[in-house]
Amino acid sequence: MTDWPLALVPSYGLGLIAATTFLSCLALPIPASVIMLAAGGFSAAGDLDLAQVVLAALAGAVAGDQLGYALGRWGGARLVDRMAQSAKRGAVIAKAQAVMQARGGVAVFLTRWLFSPLGPYVNLIAGAARQGWLGFTLWAAAGEAVWCGLYVGIGRGFAGNLSAASDLLGSVLGLVASLAAVGLLGWALVVLARQDRVRP
């Protein structure tokens, strides 16, 4: 773990936290989770205000999501339109857009915090697939609230032990994500096994 960005947290405070979450939503390699954990720790030590820290992190993340979505919408949508001109591809793209509009919200929500490395790309895809702006914004903001609240809250709870907080949180999120995959895949296998039995 590099220590230099942590020294900047109490000095530059809220602006740094907002900038960190903003840039990490654009897929830049910024240690936003460690910064938020540290900020939570500093809030417990009385160096920063908890509510301000959460709001700053949330503001940066929501703004970053909006920029990613706008980039996908203005750049990506044009590209998608050009690709959709071929009849065969057009049908597939129309289907992808329909799925994104109908169920994209949950994907947006979960890629804020549980599968956060995917978040920046989902922003671009959501914009390019013309997912509704209001739906995107609400799901994204809800997901970012979980992300920021979780990291700052855990950082505060584990104040004075940053390594423990980041270590434990990494394991917990990994466990939740892999258990979710086990559940979904297991369910699909059960359904498929039943179908195979009906028509062997």
Binding site: S11, A45, D47, A164, L168, S171, V172, S178, L185, R197
Partner: protein
């Protein structure tokens, strides 16, 4: 049961492999969680680092930060919080010196409060 698995393996090998991979990952994360929880239960305090403020160190070690200031001869925070690095820079001394002073202060304070 075995028959079902064989049929699944024949018809959906990739799905079955993905399921096994996800199960393995779950076991890995569960194991890591247990190991690190056991480890951190015995290692509450975090070593003093240049990026920490006196408040943060005090929180980690269960010592009043203002007492650390007093014992280590550090300035009380005024306005915005200072990291140990900031304090060292202001004084023009190496940060290791300030870290050592804080460590000595913690040791003294904890000894003083011990029964």
């Amino acid at each position: 049961m075995i028959g079902t698995l064989k049929r699944l393996w024949a018809n959906h090998p990739r799905l079955l492999l993905a399921f096994l991979l996800a199960s393995t990952l779950s076991l890995f994360f569960a194991g890591r969680l247990i190991v690190s929880a056991a480890y951190w239960a015995g290692h509450r305090q975090e070593a003093v680092q240049p990026w920490m403020t006196v408040g943060y160190v005090g929180r980690s070690w269960g010592v009043d930060p203002r007492q650390i200031d007093a014992v280590a001869g550090l300035p009380a925070p005024d306005g915005h919080p200072l990291t140990l690095e900031d304090i060292a820079r202001q004084r023009g001394v190496p940060v290791a010196e300030v870290v050592a002073q804080v460590e000595a202060a913690i040791a003294a304070l904890r000894q003083g409060s011990a029964p």
